[in-house]
């Protein structure tokens, strides 16, 4: 019996003192549920245990205004019997609550029509190891975050600017097991620093995300945002139209992140992917290659999917040609392919998605892109991106926090923000230069590994007032 664990390791910062479940306890919860389920009508049982201990310090107007910590453990149970399956989730770990979750799952499933396509749960799997648990990140304290924030705010005050942002750090761990002997576990640390520097009427922004808090420097990010905010104070208004753009990695990420469902086999089977009737064709420029690779050193995430299947590295775009999709077990069976380990926890209607896209990138730099541009726009980040046309993949959104005019190879002034309406397919045909791919972080997509891009004929349709 694993409920109310008594001997927990202390893995958080000194002040947070998050007492995480030990690997033995994680496994113990799963074994308890599987044991309890044996005395029910469940033929198969799957258990997920997810634990999060996250802290986030938020600042605005040059001071901390919110500062939070959370610790959550959830146990999610899926039973299957007679071609029927359903899921029940709880965050209560006592035996009665775990038993209740099993019973709810069975009760839900009992009402279903039989699904002849429901697959038996997978058996034991082998996983490639990844280590993304960094002790330095786990040891970050509220005082550490407050000191870094204070330095950034002091810089803002010194420059006559106003700082706002976050500094977060945390730990998460997950385990999945089932009654056919599958068991997988994963833990990682995460940290983020994001800062907006405001110098009326302008603002600029910088952000970093890593499993290792030592891989970014809050003060350097603050300095970068501060310099760009100052550059952005005096803006000119340009006419909407098609421009050559230099998209910094965060801007690229927040656009191409909208592709991730399109590479799901289920989305293609459902005919809602932009890749319908386009697989194997020269859709993008020959300089665009994309893999999904959870093992890439700049990626994060568990090396297994929602059913516990090992994630595979998948080449999704090869020199502009969509080559492969990612598959859950169900969509793989429907397409007579092998599962790639990208399925979501069952039951669900979306199937799967690549969560760790990595662009091949190039050898240029943002500076070289600027130097090579006769007239264009340098874009810091994009905002409120939404899909206008799902098949042509036309996205709309705004530029934000630093849009600059490039003339004759140098940045000459700041520009009022534009709205864009741009097909991503067309955009990836028009990429002229790329930097090496980096771990990018924005606000519209989860983190991926993408380059900065110089893109011709990017379509800005309207201008706003600032």
């Amino acid at each position: 019996m694993t409920s109310a664990p008594s001997a927990r390791k202390k893995s958080g910062g000194e002040t947070e003192r998050a007492e995480l479940l030990s690997p033995r306890e994680l496994r113990g919860i799963i074994e308890t549920v599987l044991r309890l389920a044996k005395s029910t009508e469940a033929v198969e049982t799957e258990v997920h245990v997810d634990e999060v201990a996250d802290a986030l310090t938020r600042f605005a107007n040059n001071g901390i205004h919110q500062n939070v910590f959370e610790h959550v453990v959830t146990v999610s149970v899926r039973t299957a019997a007679g071609g029927r399956t359903a899921r029940a989730t709880t965050n209560r770990l006592d035996q009665d609550s775990l038993r209740a979750a099993i019973e709810v799952s069975l009760s839900l499933a009992h009402n279903l029509p039989r699904d002849p396509k429901l697959l038996p749960m997978p058996g034991k799997q082998r996983y490639r190891k990844v280590n993304r648990f960094i002790k330095a990140t786990a040891a970050v304290t509220p005082e550490d975050r407050a000191r870094a924030v204070r330095l950034a705010c002091d810089l803002a005050a010194k420059k006559g600017q106003v700082a706002a942002g976050i500094f977060s750090s945390g730990i998460s761990q997950a385990a999945v097991g089932n009654s056919r002997g599958l068991f997988a576990t994963y833990s990682e640390t995460h940290s983020q620093f994001s800062i907006t520097m405001q110098e009326d009427p302008a603002a600029s922004w910088a952000k970093a995300d890593s499993a290792n808090v030592r891989e970014f420097h809050p003060q350097k990010l603050a300095e970068r945002a501060s310099e760009k905010a100052h550059l952005a104070v005096k803006t000119q208004e340009l006419a909407p139209g098609r421009y050559t753009v230099i998209l910094e990695p965060a801007a690229v990420l927040d656009l191409v992140g909208f592709f991730f469902y399109d590479f799901a086999a289920t989305a293609v089977q459902d005919k809602r992917s932009c890749l319908n009737d386009r697989m194997g064709k020269q859709l993008f420029g020959k300089n665009i290659s994309i893999v999904d690779d959870v093992f890439h050193p700049l990626q994060k995430g568990a090396p297994f999917d929602g059913e516990g299947m090992p994630r595979q590295r998948v080449l999704v775009v090869d020199r502009g040609v969509p080559k492969n999709l990612v598959y859950s077990r169900a969509s793989a069976k429907a397409a007579r392919r092998k599962p790639t380990g990208h399925g979501f926890a069952l039951p669900n209607e979306y199937g799967e998605a690549p969560m760790n896209l990595v662009f091949s990138g190039g050898e240029s730099t943002v500076e070289k892109m600027v130097a090579s541009t006769g007239r264009g726009l340098l874009v810091t980040r994009l905002w409120y991106i939404r899909e206008v046309d799902p098949y042509e993949k036309v996205m709309t959104g705004m530029t934000r926090d630093g849009l600059f005019l490039v003339e004759n190879g140098r940045v000459t002034s700041a520009v009022k923000n534009f709205r864009f309406n741009q097909s991503l397919i067309e955009m990836l045909r028009n990429v002229e230069l790329m930097s090496p791919a980096v771990r990018a972080t924005g606000e519209e997509s989860f983190e991926m590994v993408v380059p900065a891009m110089k893109v011709r004929d990017f379509h800005f349709s309207e201008v706003t007032k600032f």
């Binding site: 500062n67 005082e143 809602r272």
Partner: protein, 485 residues
């Protein structure tokens, strides 16, 4: 739960907190979906825990835990105080809170049929039947339906003596049909996109929607859209259906009036607002027929922004936002109220769950009904475009410039609904748009729409908001921008 709350407040005080409030919450949820005649998601979840917010050394700290033991709760409260003391290392000034009375109360949202007591078999049968109706329509390549039910119990206690228990029952339901044909994807949803209609109601909401009646209609429209004319690019007269107008209100009125945005507290993420403090009681936000309120009271309706008390223990209120076209009010909390000269919070602090800090949120931000009969509005429009059901939405980070597209449009010619238009869109600047409003329909066509997916805050919180709207007409609007070349 009250013992845990008291335990947390006592510990926080002992550790040096000058103020504390606690939210213990128990959330239960059921999700059902179907796709192409098969059940997709079938899941039920519960989450229970406690969140403690304290002021110490003049700064905020918040900690949450699901370890509901005396020791676990005390550790959580102590941690909140430690975090507050760390906050004080980089505070700008001491937090000052507007006064509020202590309340001891219990409240339950009204419902006729508990959705979690309705047999699952009944719920699935309805969804599968609606799904099947849509599947029958030629050209439909994807059918989807969904129901979502939530029951939320919250116990709020504060160091000023409040003890408030609230129980909310929330239901949501919607259907959608998609057609892929000739290199084009078209979709129609009912009664709204992105999950349908959501309200603070029981299963009676689902029964009122008449899914079986509407399923073949929207499926037929989705298939027919391929052959419809493209929405033209022009400046012209626009009539918005209530479901689209609800989102327009949300984005271009609801968000800009959040005082935390106005004061720069969301500058890094959600953005700021063009409604700077000097605009209050001066800005002509809209035409004189436009009246907007933020109303969390049950009298306004059973919306996603309806409650008896907010998550800071302040009673539900109705605040004038736009009165006869003039900008009259913000959404405030106890910390920000005094900054706009108010002696009391407007009661808009809301939290997604026990593990999230309450932040300023929309309640029911609604456009009050006007004077027009819908048929008269159409008859009075010689040349215009009617747009229905949102497809995409986007607005800049100060809430000036927006662009929306909808699933379907209709030409209005000579006072009559004429041909169908595909890919409709419109754009504009917030105040210019609202000042161009010249007709709003009556209460007969007014619906309190639910927006269940409003994201804000770091860490991100998803909140449901309500938006009452009836069809309305706007003049000289830029139309068709989203598909401009």
């Amino acid at each position: 739960m009250w013992d845990f709350c008291t335990n947390a407040l006592d510990t926080a005080k002992l550790r040096g907190a000058s103020y504390g409030d606690v939210r213990a919450m128990h959330l239960r949820q059921r999700d059902l979906t179907t796709k192409n005649g098969q059940v997709g998601t079938l899941a039920q979840s519960e989450s229970i825990g406690i969140g403690v917010r304290v002021l110490a050394n003049g700064a905020w700290g918040f900690a949450s835990t699901d370890r509901l033991t005396r020791e676990g709760v005390a550790a959580c409260a102590a941690q909140a105080v430690s975090i507050a003391k760390a906050s004080a290392l980089a505070k700008r000034s001491n937090v000052v809170m507007a006064p509020e009375k202590a309340y001891v109360d219990s409240w339950q949202s009204p419902f006729r049929k508990d959705p979690l007591e309705i047999p699952l078999e009944t719920q699935l049968a309805l969804l599968l039947a609606a799904d099947a109706e849509m599947c029958k329509v030629k050209g439909i390549t994807l059918t989807e339906t969904n129901m979502q039910f939530r029951k939320i119990d919250s116990w709020f206690a504060s160091s000023i003596g409040s003890r408030i228990h609230q129980r909310k029952v929330i239901s949501g339901c919607g259907i959608g049909a998609t057609s892929f044909q000739g290199g084009e994807i078209q979709k129609r949803s009912y009664p709204n996109s992105f999950g349908g209609q959501h309200a603070l109601e029981g299963y009676e909401l689902v029964e009122s929607l008449e899914l079986m009646k509407h399923a073949p209609v929207i499926a037929g429209e989705a298939a027919a859209l391929h052959a419809a004319a493209q929405c033209p690019e022009k400046f012209g007269t626009l009539i918005l259906a209530g479901n689209q107008l609800g989102l327009q209100i949300h984005e271009s009125i609801g968000h800009p009036i959040e005082l935390d945005r106005v004061l720069g507290q969301e500058a890094n993420f959600a953005g700021t607002s063009f409604l700077t403090l000097d605009q209050l009681n001066k800005l002509k936000y809209a035409s004189s027929i436009v009246n907007v309120v933020a109303d969390a009271r049950l009298d306004h309706g059973q919306g996603l922004g309806t409650f008896a008390y907010d998550d800071e223990g302040v009673p539900a209120q109705c605040t004038d936002i736009i009165k006869d076209g003039k900008f009259r009010g913000y959404l405030s909390n106890r910390e920000t109220a005094h900054l706009v000269g108010l002696d009391r919070s407007s009661g808009t602090m809301r939290t997604e769950s026990w593990n999230r800090l309450p932040i300023i949120r929309m309640t029911n931000v609604s456009l009050l009904p006007g004077t027009w009969d819908y048929d008269d509005l159409i008859a009075d429009t010689p040349d215009g475009i009617l747009m229905d059901t949102n497809r995409s939405w986007s607005i800049d980070d100060r809430r000036y410039q927006f662009q929306f597209s909808t699933e379907i449009g209709w030409e209005i010619k000579g006072g009559k609904k004429a041909r169908m238009l595909k890919n409709p869109s419109y754009s504009g600047i917030t105040t210019e748009f609202w000042n161009s409003c010249d007709a709003i329909c009556k209460f007969d066509d007014w619906t309190l729409w639910g927006t269940p997916n409003c994201g804000k805050g770091q860490p991100m919180q998803t909140m449901g908001t309500g938006h009452g709207a009836a069809p309305a007409r706007f003049r000289n609007v830029r139309i068709g921008t989203a598909f401009s070349k």
